[in-house]
Symmetry: C2
Subunit: 234 residues, 2 copies
DNA sequence: CGACATTAAATTGTTGACACTTTACACTCG
DNA sequence: CGAGTGTAAAGTGTCAACAATTTAATGTCG
C-alpha cells in the first residue's frame, strides 16, 4: 500500500474562498440571464455589488473564462460569451460522443437499481409528452441524461459533460421542442434504455449518440427557420 | 446578413496579457517538470522569479486550476496536481471516447489529402517499431493521434482532447512502451486508418476507441508491476 | 522524553492607490 | 454638415501594503 494514499482526508475545513464564492455567484448570474449574453462585465460595478475589491472578482472571472462562460479581451474587458450556431453544433457533437460513451459504460457494468429509475423517468416523460407539456418534460429529460452520465461511474466524464451542458446554456434559442417532437424524443430514450438493459455497449453508444445528434438537427432546423423569419422581418 | 458578423476582425492587437503569459510559462514549467508534481507553489517566490507582483500570478493560477493542472486549497496554497491511477484510468476512458469520435467524424467526411499523410506516418512508425526505437516512435504516435483529431474539423473536440492529453502528462509513469508493444500499437493504427479510408464511421469509432483502451490496459499492467516492485523493495 | 500549549515566522487573502489603455465626447476644420 | 482630431472620463492592469491564516519553532509541563 502506498504511503501517499491517505485513508482519511481532512481538507473539508474551509474548503471555500471568496473567489470561488464569487465564481459561483457570477456563474448563476450569467446562466439565469441576470447578465445579458454578449454584454460586458464592469469589474468596478460587480465588485461594488458584492462589497469586495476587484482582486477576487478578477480571479473569479479568470476561472469562468477557462470554463468557457466569459471571454477576456485584454484592456477591453470581460464579456459574457456568446455562441454562434457553428459552435453550438460542434458542442452538440462532443456532447453526443460523451453521452454515448456514458451509455456505453453503463451498458457494460450493469448493476441492480439502475434500470428501474430509468424506466420510471421514461414513463413520466411519456405522460408529459402525450400532454404536450414541455415544462414538465424538460426537467425530466435533463434528469434522464444526467442520471445516465452520473451512473456511468466516471467522474472525469461527468465533469466534462456537465461543463459542456453548462456552456450550451449560453445559447438561448434551442431549448424548445414543439408538438410531437417530445414523443419522438422519448422513443429514442426507450431505445437507449433497452440497449443498456440488454448490456449491449455498442448499441447503447449508437442509440445515445444518435439521440443527441437528432436533438442537434431539431435545433438546427428550428434555428434555420428562425433565421428565415429574421430575414423576412428585415 | 447580420451586422454583427464583421468581415475582418482586428482583435489581434494586444491579444495577450501578463496573466496569460504567466499562465503559459507556469504551465510549461509544470509540464517540463521544473515544478515537481504534488509540490507546492510559492506565490511570492514565483512572482519574484518573473519580476512581477502576486496579482497577475494569482490570476494565472486560477486559470491553471480550471485547466486541471493545479489544485487550490484555500489558505493553504497552490499545489501541482498529482493524479492517482484511478483518475488516469477515467481520463483514458474519456480520451478514448473523444478520439473515437474524432475518427468517426473523419470517416464520415473524407476529403482528399487526409489518408496520404496518415499512411506516411503509419510507415514511419512501422519502421521505428521494427527498430524498437521508442524515442522515434513516440512523437510520431502523438502526431498521428493529434492529426486525426485536428482533421476531424471540430474545434471544441480538439480543445477538449488536447486539454485532456495535457492533464495526462501529469502522470509520469506510463509514457513507456517496451518490446513489441510498439508493433502491436501500430497494427491498431493501421486498422483505424483502414476504417477511415473505407468511410465506415462506426468501425472508425470502435477501432480508435479500442486502441486507446488497449493503451490504458498496457499502462495499467505496467503500473501494477511497478507497484509490485515497490512492494518488494519495501 | 513526549505531548501540548505558546509564540514567531512565513504565506496566503484582500484592499486601495496609481499607471496605462480604451472609449466617449466635444471641438475644429474642410 | 460630416470627417477627423484632441481631450476628458471611464475602465482595466499592476503594484505594494496591510490583515488574516497557517505553519514552524520554541518552550513548558506531565
Amino acid at each position: 500500500m502506498s504511503s501517499s494514499s491517505a485513508a482519511h482526508d481532512v481538507s473539508f475545513l474551509r474548503l471555500t474562498s471568496l473567489p470561488m464564492l464569487l465564481e459561483r455567484e457570477i456563474e448563476s448570474m450569467i446562466l439565469d440571464g441576470r447578465l445579458s449574453i454578449g454584454g460586458r462585465i464592469n469589474e468596478n460595478q460587480l465588485a461594488a455589488t458584492f462589497g469586495v475589491s476587484r482582486g477576487p472578482v478578477r480571479e473569479a472571472l479568470r476561472s469562468l473564462e477557462a470554463l468557457g462562460l466569459v471571454e477576456l479581451l485584454p484592456n477591453r474587458g470581460v464579456f459574457i460569451r456568446s455562441l454562434d450556431i457553428a459552435q453550438v453544433v460542434e458542442m452538440y457533437g462532443v456532447r453526443a460522443a460523451l453521452f454515448g460513451y456514458a451509455a456505453q459504460l453503463l451498458a457494460g457494468r450493469m448493476e441492480a437499481g439502475v434500470v428501474a429509475p430509468l424506466r420510471a423517468m421514461l414513463d413520466e416523460m411519456a405522460e408529459a409528452a402525450r400532454a404536450h407539456d414541455f415544462d414538465r418534460y424538460y426537467p425530466l429529460n435533463f434528469a434522464f441524461h444526467d442520471f445516465i452520465v452520473e451512473q456511468a461511474g466516471n467522474g472525469v466524464l461527468t465533469a466534462q459533460y456537465r461543463g459542456l451542458v453548462k456552456q450550451l446554456r449560453l445559447y438561448r434559442a434551442g431549448n424548445l421542442m414543439t408538438g410531437n417532437t417530445l414523443e419522438l424524443s422519448n422513443e429514442e430514450h426507450a431505445r437507449i434504455v433497452a440497449a443498456i438493459e440488454q448490456g449491449d455497449p455498442l448499441a447503447a453508444y449508437q442509440t445515445s449518440f444518435d439521440h443527441v445528434e437528432r436533438g442537434k438537427e431539431r435545433l438546427l432546423a428550428r434555428s434555420v427557420s428562425l433565421a428565415h423569419a429574421e430575414e423576412r422581418r428585415a
